[in-house]
Amino acid sequence: MDSLFTLTPPAAWGAPLLVTALMLPVAALMLAFVLGGRHAERVVLATLPIGLGVAVAIAAAVLHQGATLHYDLGGWAPPLGVSLHADGLSATLLLTTAVVLCAVGLYARADFRVPSGAREARAPLAFWTLLLAVWAGLNAVFLGQDLFNLYVALELLTFAAVPLVCLRGSPQTIAAALRYLLFALLGSVLYLLGGALFYGAYGTLDIALLSARLASGDPIAPAALAAAALMTAGLLAKTALFPLHLWLPPAHAGAPAAGSAVLSALVVKASFFLILRLWFDVMPDPLTHLAAQVLATLGAAAILFGGILALRQARLKMLIAYSTLAQIGYLFLVFPLVASPAAAPALDLVQAPGAWTGGVLQLVSHAFAKAAMFMAAGLIAGALGHDQVRGLGGLGRVLPMTVFAFALAGLSLMGLPPSGGFAAKWLLLSAAIETGQWWWTLVMLAGGLLTGGYLFRVLAPALSTRGPPLTLVKPVERSRELVVLGLALCSVVLGLVPLSSFGLVQIGRLGATGIGLP
């Protein structure tokens, strides 16, 4: 029964790399915590490039072998043991995470320096250790193959992300962190309940085994249906999909810029990734078709609602945070486009690889663009002493590089060529038309217009040449601007790479074990 899912020969090279990717940040976290003081930052900056190398190596191994990597921890095979797993999507996300975190690490040095004279300070120690913890949590989520192991990974992420929100310690950020924590805990506990029910029905928590047992032809246990529903609800609360989004804007806007970048670009994607895994890797097709419509409807609502609210924000960081709500909505349009019964009657789910690639591109390009935007906003707020959208007139003349980076990232969010966002939205649009689901194209186009609208509110005054020149309360370091620009360029460059080079993201999809391309 399981033979289908253990095709990967144990000799596949690169499997121990999965352990490295998971344990490197954990070991670094402990080291940074014990050494403390100025060493915490050094440990992080030394670990980040190594982690990036590991992520590159994993991606290379997956791409080279054209198959997923597996590692049975402790030599115990599931269902008794826990295994790690990396398919093309996992490898892509590991790589994205490493790149964004490297940029964040370089950017954050200026904000989280231990003041001279002190051996150690609160915010720097917390920030650097939490950054490593976020990394460990994300890698654990992307590599997890066991539903309970993933629960622990999600909790690791929660415990790392929540304190990041209130590092500043103002009453508003404390309230935002508390609300975030409550939502996240509710999400975790519902997820855990789902896991328990899966175990009660099928006696395993391993994703591959579960999927095989669910697809074995017997009627699906009621417990499994309840489990999928509960897990989805919990994960939606963590992803902040409309209407469970209330916690996100104050939390993401309240964190320090580097923290906001991590939260908005990466952390919300972890729970989205698990929703993808749940519906495409665990649940059987007919159910996925049904759930896809519900999820996409919520996603469409998020696109419109988030866009409209972003238009009305007075603060730049709040605007960017609401934009995250809308951009998350796009991710959920992937479900009906990939799992379209119209396009694939009685066939497997991989009828629309274009939509899958589009969805992953949206995920990755949004990560780069949103991290760049939040960090640009941090530079702007630091330089001006405020981040009121109304007070940005003439900003382009004093901070040209930052504004340019912000605009490039905006290009990707709007989906204008030549950017990763364009490629993503183009693939999603064509998939919608190909599968005869034209209504989703309307939503995407409306979303694009709204995105254009709120970015115009920022960019039009920033780029205007009239009015008195702005005075900066603090100069901006060139190196930090370069980091932001680099990330923004990443999000644009994704759109220039020929689509055929995204074969990686298809590896490991059911029925697409070879590097098939559209």
Binding site: M23, L29, L80, V82, R122, A133
Partner: protein, 310 residues
Amino acid sequence: MSLALAADAGLALLILGLAVWTTIARTAFGAVIGFMAYGFLVALVWVRLAAVDVALTEAALGSGLTGVLLLGAAARLPRDAAAARPGWGLRLAAGVVSAAVAAGLAAVVLLLPVPGPTLAPVATATLPTLGLGNPVTGVLIAYRAIDTLLESVVLVLALIGLWSLARDEDWGGRPDALRAANPGAALVLLAQVLPPLGLLVGVHLFWTGAIAPGGAFQGGTVLAAMWVLTLVAGLTRPPRVGGRGVRLLLVAGPALFLAIGVAGFWLGGAFLAYPAADAKPLILAIEAALTLSIAVALGLLLAGPPGARE
């Protein structure tokens, strides 16, 4: 067996009653007391479900430490800040949703497959190779070692998160919020008499965990409770958060776990694998370090962020 069923029904009713009380009690303080009693009785339910390992954890953590934590929070709540209750519409909607979820779950419980799927035979079959007699410890420390390792890191992380809530100027200080203002003679006596006993129980739980219910979490929790007792009575003071020694203690468990796990690459053929010959001593070493780290972490989690007393 109908007598046992009657006892169980009584237990279930008591638990539900206390849960309802915790939800509707007028004051937060009353709700917390209700919750502590609730945790106590849930520990009995775990015994009835033949999960004594869980019962031990629940008794120590669920009702003991959590109760103390919540009591401390309830005592510091503002009195007059009764927030507006949500309107009838929301409450009705919430009631309908919650009732639907509960009813759905009840239906799922009744429809679970018979016999229930189980991993018990597989889990016990390989226990002797590890030199263990308690399958739960086997799962925690061998089969699913990664969860336990990550979870011990979660505890350290929770502590970092807690400390990050300190004020900047308090950084490097001691978390002194636990110490009673005027520890009476009775309290001091109790804090002198109970901890040696508790120390024995804690070490016993850790040691017996290899063959009987118990283990690092249960033992560590009891040790933490005893340490906290001496902190409350002012007999000991918590360490400064900047100290390297306390941080070494905190990561000793996960770090040793990780190190032995990495050594498993060579000795056992895989990460987190134990070599067949030395499994038992290695597992005991990990458990000992974990017990210590968990005790320190839990104690410090209760002690709160560093800084001036409120």
